[in-house]
Symmetry: C2
Subunit: 233 residues, 2 copies
């Protein structure tokens, strides 16, 4: 599966990186069949019309449109100190299925710089690997205070480790609706942040009795919602 | 939280590694309070009676026994070609909660050598990090053919990507019972392996319509069972 950022008419040109993969890794030749996703809901089947290291030309033979998830999942999460853990989170939620991710800078954040271009590559790679027609949207990082006062349709939750007497996400999430879940940094959200979020309409939730790392909490929240929407009743 | 492999009477000696962590990373002193897990169901609270780089002595002041999970989860999974992915799987399922893991060598396995000692360290580290009283059991690697004919109490599943018309794990798993789930390598189980497993009483399952990597499938299977056992009804 290849990724192409846009198809116009009956052909498209692969990026330099995808062309390299096509020529050097898969060693495809002109005339070979090729499958693509544009990350905005379309699968394409085509054939290689011209091989070129700067940009292979693909003739599109058929298109299959995939409708978007009617109950989109948005996770706003503090990037981990160790960036590998954050990239792992991105890869795993893309495989499981997520629509939108916002990196969140919080009071206890240990990381305040992010290379979005690199993270975008992780998302593209996972989208291709897991054969998805939709590439998750990665938003610009936001400060916690600014972010929580934004407008969101759907249910809003804040994952919080401190008190332990919150209800679990699976008890509070009403199936078949869009959801936004906030996941805090290694040092958790501050009490002040939790109070602000509650004031802005977020419901505090637990993800179970286990103490989860930031990236694990993000994966677990995403899978919980995804699973509940696939369960009967 | 520290890990100690055994406590006898009212004291225990930390391993060299744990002693190093205690002295050099946390810079604890004699008399300082210390919390431990023995990985077999006990949390200990104690105090450092003697600092020594070869083995700190801990005086145990109190014990709290944690009962084992009455519905243990056992995942037998093909180690990934890239060992980082397998270690990630181990860390994540330990955080989420798992009782037993068996590395499985299959027809399409791309890895046939495993350093168990290193993997054991990942489990110990994740057990401490997630404050668990039980360390998951990591079995010796087994060949698929030998493994599936073994005796298991509980439900037996085989995750399989190929056909796509299997029921999902969450539809077939009967809550509050122990379960064994087989997860295949990057190239999936062979048709022959699936047939053998079915003959040995395993039920083929899907983990949803997304194509998941091996380690993601393992995490998702573990979390699905864990979540179902926490849900009412």
């Amino acid at each position: 599966m290849f990724y192409v950022s846009g198809v116009e008419g009956n052909s498209c040109v692969l990026s330099e990186e995808e062309s390299w993969h096509c020529m050097k890794v898969l060693r495809l030749s002109e005339g070979d069949a090729i499958d693509l996703t544009d990350g905005t809901g379309n699968f394409y089947h085509g054939r290689l019309a011209r091989i070129h290291h700067k940009g292979c030309l693909v003739e599109i033979l058929s298109v299959k449109a995939v409708p978007p998830n009617p109950w989109p999942i948005h996770i706003a999460i503090a990037p981990t100190k160790n960036i590998d853990r954050f990239e792992w989170f991105l890869e795993k939620v893309t495989e499981i299925g997520i629509e939108e991710i916002t990196p969140l800078f919080c009071e206890h954040s240990e990381r305040e710089v992010l290379k979005l271009q690199r993270l975008e590559k992780v998302l593209v790679s996972a989208t291709k690997q897991s054969l998805k027609a939709w590439l998750p949207i990665l938003n610009e990082p936001a400060r916690f205070r600014d972010f929580i006062t934004g407008n969101f349709a759907g249910q809003k939750f804040i994952g919080y480790c401190e008190t332990g007497d919150e209800s679990e996400l699976h008890d509070l999430y009403r199936e078949k609706s869009s959801a936004l879940v906030l996941i805090g940094p290694e040092g958790d959200f501050s009490k002040n942040e939790v109070a602000m979020a509650i004031k802005s309409g977020f419901t505090p939730i637990s993800l179970g009795s286990s103490r989860l790392r930031t990236e694990t909490a993000g994966i677990v929240a995403c899978h919980t919602i995804s699973l509940l929407n696939r369960m009967p009743g």
